[in-house]
């Protein structure tokens, strides 16, 4: 589904983007066709890990069950999750992601440091869909 968007485990977990070798523009989700900088003639796009840590640009949550294609079990009560938009200083970009389970909007402030960690989007009997999640760096659980 999102092949090549992230890699690694634990401390080595990283979001993966691409970078234009001609102009150094960074893209996430990865841009593999051509550089989108209108002032760039275009160069090879190479895979690049993004900064592991960033600061909260903004945040919100989903108090109602999102529609398909988000996958949830309608038999289970809805558990809201937080969503965090994170500013990565080195890449000068903002990346949206779910917060790790258990972190609510009450735990967040704009400007707080967070880090990308591996997480589970959902799982069924046959398969587990993994994803990236943002976790405040003060949280170790």
């Amino acid at each position: 589904m999102v092949t090549g968007w992230f890699t690694g485990d634990g401390e080595d977990f990283r979001l993966l983007g691409t970078r234009c070798r001609a102009c150094a523009s960074v893209f996430f989700p990865r841009e593999d066709i051509h550089c989108r900088n209108p002032g760039c003639a275009g160069g090879p796009l190479e895979e690049v890990p993004l900064s592991r840590r960033g600061r909260v640009w903004s945040y919100t949550d989903a108090r109602y069950r999102p529609p398909s294609p988000y996958v949830t079990d309608p038999e289970l009560p809805w558990e809201p999750y937080a969503l965090i938009a994170v500013e990565l200083a080195a890449e000068r970009m903002v990346v949206l992601g779910q917060a790790v389970p258990g972190v609510t909007v009450a735990d967040l402030t704009v400007g707080m440091e967070v880090e990308a960690v591996p997480g589970v989007l959902h799982e069924d009997a046959e398969r587990t869909w993994t994803t990236w999640q943002w976790r405040p760096t003060g949280v170790t659980a």
Partner: protein, 396 residues
Amino acid sequence: MTGEVAVLGAGMHPWGKWGRGFVEYGVVAARAALADAGLDWRDIGSVVGADTVRGGYPGYVAGATFAKALGWQGARVTSVYAACASGAQAVDTARAQILSGRVDVVLVVGADAAPKGFFRPAGGERPEDPDWLRFRVLGATNPTYFGLYARRRMAVHGDSPEDFAQVKVKNAAMGALNPYARYRKRVTAEEVAASAVVADPLRLLDICATSDGGAAVVLSSMEFAHRHGVAEPVRIRAVSTVTPRYPNTVLDLPDIATDSAVAVEPATETFRTSLTRAAYEEAGVGPEDLSLAEVYDLSTALELQWYEDLGLCGEGEGVKLLREGATAPGGRIPVNTSGGLASFGEAVPAQAIAQVCELTWQLRGVAGDRQVEGARAGITANQGLFGHGSAVIAVR
């Protein structure tokens, strides 16, 4: 001004949840606009339909669908899709046809029968579609983005949920006066605060609903209007449809991330500001000349953002402008006199046309209890998926 076209007619189908097909809403709106213009359908040289993706195949070819429903009469036909800006691009297409001299008079129609609850992408496994991906990977609905903007305003400008609620209170009071609005009831700040949180910090009454509805306008050359006996029609003087500029550093629907500003320094103005600036430049008017504005209040917090993006006040001063009453009836620049999306809800291909209908009625001085006294110029502003947005300026 050589770039002007006349608005000869405006019409709507009342908005709500009527449970009928979008064609019916569009035809009712079209017939109302034709009657308002004093024209027969067979006088129309071109029909431009704003597409709905929810209507299936007929919705994708909305121009022809409405033309067939009104009765094939040999007019030119165009169908336009531009997400939330579809209606404005339909207006722009009609205007271009008139200004190029290809046709004298054009019917523009948009209508939708929206589903209840969150908008969602088309079905199937479509990982190449950013709109599909944001739902599948993040469960990020439209209110997710509204919530992010709202929280950001709170952190950067000190806005509060109570400020946001006052936008709803204002727009509901105006919507209560509009016979075409879906919600025609005043709302109190307490009612906003008591409604359920949808996407923190926004509550149900901070976010616009989905609706059924239709809107239409009849546009013509100035010469045709004069021949038709309309000496001083409402005129459209600008339609801006500019795209963002790289790097777009404001997280927007349906993106999972912004562009990186590593290689290129961002423009000093945001996408929304560039939309309205382009309209001002084309029209030769500025924010100080406006009598009213119709903006996409997809959320209450977003309306405050538009105040700043329209240049009605400085950055971060949206709440101050609201508190002063400048954007309320009787204020310096009333915003969303129609009641806005807060009172109408979203019927995507119709809503940008509905904004132009409201400008038309206000500039003619026939807006009834919600009339802005002596209205001379108005602007609409909207923004949709994938870098679509528009602003229309009309004058009297």
